[in-house]
């Protein structure tokens, strides 16, 4: 896959294409489908060649709609909260964007508590908005406040890797001890396990496997775990 830099223009034969993160459509009068790159990385496409995205690693999160993120509540604001998601701006989370929330029965989040939420609005000129439920079904589907456990910070690439069901790390950790995780695409991973030691092991493995940190592969991680006190 070719390495692309911001500003490069890419043209395709396909008439209808879908653009993922790091690409933006540009209008041109010659009726050609063209897009410009907004992020450095490798250009990836699906087998059919009608979906494109830029894969890369970074540490600063830029929200995109529908992505799960972990935020830290930084302040109360009217009916909702201001949440830090690692972006340049704070996101807003409405008090009614929870399962079963109504005007009378609203969840009570304290400042500095953790929430697992989905980005419902991401626009480059507007403040991002979060929601803790599925807007169609109004069910929580795992979103909401995260209590206990520990928050691990990693690179954005690592957090995307962890979301991939074929990635080795979480099944490997799960075979050693039971653990709960909440994966945010904003480089934050919440882990909960019974013992403090187990959480520390999980956090150190994520750090060691992070392409931005240790960059270990499956065998190296296996060896690494066996050296740890569990």
């Amino acid at each position: 896959m070719p390495v692309v830099l911001p500003g490069e223009v890419i043209q395709t034969q396909h008439k209808t294409i879908k653009l993922g993160p790091g690409l933006q459509q540009i209008s041109n009068p010659e009726e050609k489908t063209a897009m410009t790159v907004t992020r450095a990385g490798t250009l990836e496409q699906n087998a059919k060649g009608n979906q494109f995205w830029v894969e890369g690693n970074s540490r600063r999160y830029v929200p995109a709609a529908q992505e799960p993120v972990i935020g830290i509540v930084s302040a109360r604001q009217g009916e909702g909260w201001r949440v830090d998601i690692g972006y340049a701006h704070q996101a807003s989370l409405d008090g009614l964007a929870f399962e079963g929330a109504s005007r009378r029965n609203r969840p009570n989040l304290k400042v500095n508590s953790l929430v697992y939420a989905r980005v419902s609005l991401a626009h480059k000129d507007m403040e991002p908005e979060l929601e803790c439920f599925d807007a169609q079904t109004r069910k929580a589907e795992g979103f909401g406040e995260l209590k206990g456990g520990f928050l691990v910070r990693c690179s954005l690439k690592m957090s995307r890797n962890l979301l991939n069901p074929n990635y080795f790390l979480l099944p490997l950790l799960g075979s050693r001890f039971p653990l709960d995780t909440a994966l945010g695409t904003n480089g934050r991973v919440w882990i909960s396990a019974k013992e403090v030691k187990q959480i520390i092991v999980a956090a150190r493995c994520i750090e060691a496997a992070d392409p931005d940190g240790g960059g270990m592969d499956q065998n190296a991680i296996k060896k690494f775990i066996s050296t740890l006190d569990l």
Binding site: S113, K147, G148, G149, F150, I200, A203, E207, G213
Partner: protein
């Protein structure tokens, strides 16, 4: 924007781990993160890393007229820069409090402790002296920035060599290019190393935690009710510290700076224990730095004999 404070689960987990005498990165209480140095093409250009914290230090010298009240002394200035590159917590533009604190500490450690012989920087009394400019750039901040910056600064001062100069007659100065005459190292009186400790209140139930931590991993003089002291705090440890202690000292156990601005009170015994630990670490760093700087000097082949 103010940096977001650690979330409630992070804070709770950190203290429950501390109660079990565990650190988040698996280190012992008195174990520092691994450090490394890499040297640039120029003399005096050093990049130092301490764990994930990275600092670039660069020393350069130029000739200036000395201050009229001190005609025999060279000038030294230390500049720090904390840009958003280091961490998302720093903003561009206005100097932040952290930046000022870092610059002042480095000034105390290297300038006010008389590390550099200023009179050796004099070329022609009242006319020409060397002005040493030390630039510190934080490349990544994962806690312990001051320790890393001071180590980078010490390494840069050791690594740097100024061009050889010759005074001919009354006021003619000849600067010899490095190809003709080997550049001269700086005259350093001593090299201070800054070592940071984070202090936390004693465990609520001292029995379990203290029994575990009472082995080799604690500062001497630390009893069950004494505060817990961690060497080289990183990230969360730094943010959640209830008191910080910065010690700058030479391998010969001469204290240059003791900086304990508020926070948890420390008993004299604990403080002395921390000084002992710091002295040991300063000796290790000195030996390591010596070897690394000499290696690079040999590799560069500036001097041909």
């Amino acid at each position: 924007m103010r940096p977001p404070s650690p979330s409630i689960p992070e804070k709770d987990f950190f203290f429950s781990a501390l109660d079990q005498a565990l650190r988040l990165d698996g280190r012992d209480f008195l174990e520092a993160r691994p450090h490394s140095l890499s040297f640039g093409a120029e003399l005096g250009h050093v990049e130092c890393s301490l764990g994930k914290t990275r600092v670039l230090a660069q020393v350069d010298a130029k000739m200036v007229r000395p201050e009229p009240q001190r005609p025999f002394e060279g000038l030294i200035s230390i500049h720090c820069e904390l840009s958003p590159m280091a961490s998302t917590e720093y903003e561009p533009g206005r100097q932040s409090d952290e930046e000022i604190a870092l610059a002042r500490m480095l000034d105390k450690i290297f300038r006010r402790s008389d590390t550099i012989d200023r009179e050796a920087l004099c070329i022609l009394a009242g006319e020409r002296v060397w002005h040493l400019r030390i630039a510190i750039h934080a490349l990544a901040d994962a806690g312990g920035l001051l320790d890393c910056a001071s180590l980078a600064c010490a390494a840069a001062l050791r690594h740097f060599r100024r061009p050889d100069v010759e005074v001919v007659g009354a006021n003619e100065v000849i600067v010899h290019p490095p190809a003709l005459r080997a550049p001269v190292p700086l005259a350093l009186h001593h090299t201070p190393y800054c070592i940071t400790f984070a202090c936390y209140r004693a465990a609520p139930e001292p029995s379990a935690a203290a029994a575990k931590g009472a082995g080799a991993g604690t500062v001497a003089g630390q009893t069950e009710t004494a505060p817990r002291v961690l060497l080289d705090p990183a990230g969360l440890e730094h943010r959640l510290a209830q008191g910080m202690l910065h010690l700058a000292l030479t391998p010969q156990r001469e204290l240059a700076v003791v900086h304990k601005a508020g926070g948890l009170p420390l008993a004299p015994g604990v403080l002395m224990g921390a000084v002992q630990v710091a002295a040991r670490r300063a000796r290790e760093l000195e030996a390591w730095l010596d070897v690394r700087v000499r290696e690079d000097w040999v590799r560069k082949k500036v001097e041909v004999r």
